[in-house]
Subunit: 443 residues, 2 copies
Amino acid sequence: MLIEIPNTKKARVVIIGGGFGGIQLAKMFKNKDVQVVIVDKNNYHTFQPLMYQVATSALEAESIAYPIRKIFNKSKNIFFRLGEVTHIDAEKKMIEFGNDTLEYDYLVIASGAKTNYFGNEGLTISAMPMKSILESLDLRTMLLQNFEHALLINNERKKQGMMNVVIAGAGPTGVELAGALGELKRSVFPKDYPELDLGKMNIYLVQSGDRVLPMLSPKSSLKAKKYLEKLGVTVVLNTRVLDYFGDYVQTDTGQDIIAKTLIWTAGVTGNPIKGMPKETIGRGDRIQVDEFNQVKGLQDVFAIGDVACMVQKDWPNGHPQVAPGAMQQGKLLGKNLVGKICYNKPYKPFKYKDKGAMATVGKNKALVEMGRLKIGGAVAWFIWMVIHLLSLVGFRNKVVTMFNWVKNYFNSDRGMRLIITQFDLQEEKRKRRKEFEAKHTVK
Amino acid sequence: MLIEIPNTKKARVVIIGGGFGGIQLAKMFKNKDVQVVIVDKNNYHTFQPLMYQVATSALEAESIAYPIRKIFNKSKNIFFRLGEVTHIDAEKKMIEFGNDTLEYDYLVIASGAKTNYFGNEGLTISAMPMKSILESLDLRTMLLQNFEHALLINNERKKQGMMNVVIAGAGPTGVELAGALGELKRSVFPKDYPELDLGKMNIYLVQSGDRVLPMLSPKSSLKAKKYLEKLGVTVVLNTRVLDYFGDYVQTDTGQDIIAKTLIWTAGVTGNPIKGMPKETIGRGDRIQVDEFNQVKGLQDVFAIGDVACMVQKDWPNGHPQVAPGAMQQGKLLGKNLVGKICYNKPYKPFKYKDKGAMATVGKNKALVEMGRLKIGGAVAWFIWMVIHLLSLVGFRNKVVTMFNWVKNYFNSDRGMRLIITQFDLQEEKRKRRKEFEAKHTVK
């Protein structure tokens, strides 16, 4: 209760999460007669679509992050608090974060999605996720460390394992990571590691379905596969990763893949907060909401973006968990809440506008599908770049990212190959593996 | 022994450390008939003079780091290995790092300096060092976290402690940090934290001597002090920090300063490697070398830069531990070793060229002393910037840094105020403090 609501303000809206949805929502309250408090465990907004470029040494971590306080510097009615929300008490209209509590009149849960290992403990311990900036930096550390360690090993089989990378899941994140690794293999690592035989570095993209980028048309999927193979990526379709303990990836086709790195992009689940009634949580841990993004059965509690599941015509399983959807919901909910609080207007229902989908594989290689437009190649790549540049928050981030991209384009280099995080994953994972084994060994 | 010396090469030179000295030295061997191996615990060269800008949210970590492999991409005789050297065996002509060993014909120790707490356990546990990129990021995390936490506290005294910062040591690092914090206090934090009374944020620069920047003339010191005070820094002279346990700084004048952050820039010590005979290590843990940078009493072992102490006329305690000195020694030693190995020439003795000293306090406020030139103010600040920009390794780093500086100049902003590292220092330090107390409590 450290934030007072001034008498002039009609209500307090608390937003959990400063992602695409939460930020867009908060913007709708700029200079309105409402007090808004954003709570996030990070003090910055993360531009998730470019995290793979941080992991593959193409961009600085700082270029895809933007201080939340800076976004709302000029809005005196919008506040920020750093902390992880641990509990929601809908009866008392209160949230808990850290040792603090905060009361609300309206609560919006915009806590996004988290990596889903489907309960597999081996994967949870040994696979690399990439859902935060720190995880991207750790992934960068791991990829580079493995190459440095490969140089110190005589055993050829183990050396190969250090150089191999398996990516599970061929959605946009998996495909973009695989492509970026292919470019590292082709253009950067041969110069950095002339002592290693880069022909032995294998990048496997494992997909349970029969095509990559299933959200695109089959034709685009086929193009993407060709682009990936041109970059030296081995695309393994109709194959499911079963288990992994840090040394080789077990698949359901019986084929094992030796690799010290398994990157897991094969699933996300909603990230709801404790204290929500069980019946509000649906499939994939997403919060069930009506067409006004109201959580079913709760008063004045809303959910938007990846954590929300709104069943509508054409969308029996909710809308796709993508940034444009979260922003559209944030925008409408903001209008609805301002309308209700300030002018006592009724809520308007949400209509999803499908903005299409896109993914980049590598230099001059991307796929874009927007309405009737379905293209691949250099033009698609250019569209992908312009849209991502314009979507980045902050002038500085746009300029520095563009400069990096132009430079990387012409010299095929990746200047950020720096092992900054200390996290010695090999050690850490070995330790956790030992604990896991000790726990599960039959005595 | 995983690196073979090809028959064409006459000898192997192993360099420990990829700092200013080590990199300059290695460059002298480009395309010479000598095999060179650089061993460093980081895979990048760090531009230490700008670490304070990473800590104070002005620059990305990636802008002051440069991959060592990239520097020597085109030199087939120069190799790199990642690892911390743990032991030197001068008799077997061998070093140990990690689980590996490496034999050498010539060994150059360029392992630099490390933070010196003069054996004080309280300081070791509770003060913040800033001698690496990760430490700079952790310092950034701590400064920002303290402000976020201050918002969640009702106790006014504790709130003040969260906002106060004490810097021990008024050399260039301490002065530059204090100035940068003064600018944060003046231009950035009031916009980010309108709920906090920034008048209560105090920045103390504590110096044991009677002036700041003692390497400069008394006139420049006086100017620097004035600049600092203009930026709201409290300069505390003739005062020594005695102890610190995370809450208040004890000084020898009896004055305690309440502060959750104490940044320690009051001393460095050489960083010699284990296995060196005791008699080679002199004052301040620096390795004693002759005028050829040869370690006294050892065959074919050299030391350069901050870790080396060469007593010469005018320099009874060795040369100053600064980048130009390390680079000069690296350059000459490179020439000497190439001369000896390839042409059997005798070594030439080292002569130190004093390049002067400089420090920046804030926008348009710097001090530069080069030979007879002794200036302060905007011109000095411009010279400081140009020299630092030109010294940065890498085209990308130069451009991105310049862009950040120009942007920060015009909008007085610091865009990198991102809490990226996970290291929750408060927790960690509290834990270590408890262990320390448990150990030392009389039972």
